[in-house]
Symmetry: C2
Subunit: 455 residues, 2 copies
């Protein structure tokens, strides 16, 4: 092992470190997991360096964990078995922008905001928006989505190709720059969402979209949750091409008020955005307004200026912190179920009732246009009884999602936190995943302990 | 082996056959391959029967080949090593339509036209349209696309989940009915496009789309190929949401005239379709018309009535037969390259010049909004010199596609015919595919000889 560390130090010089602070930094996550530091952290600058790092680790049998911005929520990037964390911060170049093909090629450490800043003058943008300013390599690895997936899809549909360093150090390219292909197994889709357990993504080819000519956003309040959720379902079923449609329950609205002086009623809200031509946006907004009013919406606030919209979405993106601030001294447990839109009302209402019964705070927000929502369960810090109760609430949410034809994770992924649900969701399917894992990483060095039971 | 056949006969009664006519029928394809019949054909009616069939074949080491409608073009469903062909004709039920979720669940033998007939009253439709009235199981297996992919995507984006019988007879379900999920490897995407080499698809959950309020189609002629292709590129880059945009060269137009009394000029044409609201369609059509006229389009013919549009697209769908009829006594070789839209003009023009130089007929049609086009190479039947020349033309097209950042197959797949290009397109990637294949089908009984070199 010390031979491996010497080899890494020789390869990378000061970009190899075993300092306690660096190890601790890469042992923490935004989730509720205890500190699990790696034994070393490396900062490669090229694909060749990543391949050499993986070869050195493979020889020594050391775990290899990828790190983007550390904003994932299920402990994807921490190191339960030690090993070497590969931090992609220094691989942060936009390699190519091809406006005619609406394609960008980026290194994995480029964040979505950095890419969109670089794209500003092209008339194009990259829409997938998980809230955090995550790295695009990390977003591909976790199959991220977020507020705009209802219109533009998730990382599944917006990654055209990848460069990947395999567990033995070989480098492959998946996909092409053509819009479609049918030449064999879809390796791009296999690696998107594989959470670093099959290889490390060293380059991402992304699909770009045209910046909409016009954008308009709005917030409206509802007297009850049923009204808000009913309006979402009716809106989606009406075919209005919503760019965003976000649900915020009364507790979350109160947290926004406290944190961002939102001045909202303490009531369920919908936050919506429309993209299109001037006329198209106006038509969409009018149709949405009619539906929402039918379900009791009031107190409409429109935001057409970019700065007003930015303030609005910043509030939504900061909701996790706002809710933590509203409930200090709690130990947060994130949840992330996703159900067919026809079962959304049932899923949200049963979840809210279950949370109310428990006496544990659990504000709910969600990308409800996709049937996806999050309750942030907030048991008191250090209270084992509440912690246990909250874990049971989360487990019941997962079971409910599966019973309704949905999934235990719409967008956060499996990481460490949801391995326990893999068999319930996939049946024998997880064994197929395990067979693929064993075929591509027989020594189990790529992000061990994550995604698969027994991994 | 005879034990296996007895077991299959016991299981299926008259739905097991070794008749010469049935074997020959399943040994033929629409491609240029010689007769390669299986040793037996079975007609299961349930997933359980399919699982039993696979278990029996696995025990005897017999090849298992899936069969939908036999309309694939690269010999996917013929039997180079004999074995048992599983014909899904009797698994042709639409199991569920969930209009609120815009989802349908079908058995693999349901054809796209049968599904759309069943959906007519729901206001929904399934858009993927490869021309042939293919089975949805076959379309999923080959990752099919066709004329509408430019707007609605390919099978990659329109399959939500699958039921699959694995090589050892286990049955798995992939995906859920929720619009998105991030729970582990994307097995749905792994099986879509796997051409029956990893398992047999026994159920498909499909994404449906709203029938457009208004539809309008048009054809226009160009004085030269450069104008037609230039108009396509400008149209796509302008962001007009084309539902279809098809290129037809002068030779193909002449074949349409001969076959369908199209009355077109013997000149390159574009065939287009617009979907949307009445106002939206009118606006799209006007914007397209301006662009096309800038590139020299003339002789616009509009088709707003459903029957006129149907006649138009029937002509496009029958183009393969029309071209064969126009060039009798030829041995057709289909091609299917796809390139980034910025390289489309270069790809089409170099291909056309190469074909003209060869003296071999090669009419070109294409789903050019995706950068995808087909030259149908037509060497004289029985002329070994012309056949060799045409094979070289096809190989140069494939090389050109790769050089331009594209793919050797946009939608037809690999089957038997394109195995030779897998290494050139995927580098080490095909070894990753081979490792996945070996993990899921270690005895190589699932459609052997297809998709992978050495398989």
């Amino acid at each position: 092992m010390s031979t491996a560390y010497s080899a890494l130090a020789d390869l990378l010089g000061p970009r190899f470190t075993q300092s306690q602070s660096d190890r601790d930094l890469h042992g923490r996550s935004e989730g509720h997991f205890p500190l699990m530091p790696p034994d070393a952290v490396v900062y490669p600058e090229t694909t060749e360096e990543v391949a050499s790092i993986v070869r050195i680790c493979a020889e020594a049998g050391l775990p290899v964990i990828g790190w983007g911005t550390g904003t994932s929520l299920e402990g994807h990037s921490i190191a339960p078995r030690g090993g070497v964390t590969v931090d992609f911060t220094r691989m942060d170049k936009v390699l190519e922008v091809l406006p005619e093909d609406m394609v960008a090629v980026v290194q994995p450490g480029v964040t979505r905001e950095a890419l969109n800043t670089e794209l500003r003058a092209t008339g194009l943008f990259f829409p997938v928006d998980p809230g955090a300013n995550a790295s695009l390599g990390g977003m591909a690895s976790t199959r991220a989505s977020g507020t705009t997936a209802v219109r533009y899809g998730t990382m599944r549909g917006n990654v055209l190709g990848l460069e990947v360093v395999l567990a033995d150090g070989r480098v492959i390219r998946t996909g092409t720059r053509a819009p479609k292909s049918s030449t064999g197994y879809d390796l791009t889709a296999l690696f998107v969402g594989s959470e670093g357990t099959l290889g490390l993504i060293t380059e991402v080819t992304l699909k770009l979209h045209g910046q909409p000519e016009a954008v308009s956003a709005a917030v409206c309040a509802f007297s009850d949750m049923e009204g808000a959720v009913g309006a979402v379902i009716a809106t989606i079923q009406s075919g209005i091409p919503m760019a965003r449609i976000e649900f915020v329950d009364a507790a979350a609205a109160a947290a926004f008020n406290a944190q961002a002086q939102a001045g909202w009623a303490d009531a369920p809200h919908l936050m919506v955005e429309f993209h299109g031509s001037e006329a198209g946006v106006a038509e969409q907004a009018e149709r949405f307004g009619e539906i929402a009013r039918d379900f009791g919406a009031e107190d409409f606030r429109w935001a057409s200026l970019a700065e007003d919209r930015n303030r609005l979405w910043a509030m939504r993106h900061n909701s996790y912190r706002a809710m933590l601030a509203a409930y200090p001294d709690t130990a947060p447990i994130t949840t992330d179920i996703c159900v067919p839109i026809s079962r959304l009302a049932e899923a949200v209402e049963a979840t809210a009732a279950d949370i109310a019964d428990s006496g544990i705070p659990g504000p709910i927000v969600g990308h409800v246009g996709d049937g996806n929502f999050h309750a942030l369960l907030l048991p008191k810090a250090g209270d084992a009884v509440e912690w246990e109760k909250a874990q049971k609430l989360a487990a019941r949410m997962a079971e409910r999602a599966l019973k309704l034809g949905g999934t235990v994770s719409g967008e956060h992924g499996i990481g460490l936190g949801k391995v326990k649900y893999m068999e319930a969701e996939h049946g024998h399917g997880w064994q197929v995943m395990a067979a693929v894992k064993a075929a591509l990483d027989p020594e189990n060095i790529m992000n061990p302990g994550k995604l698969l039971p027994g991994n």
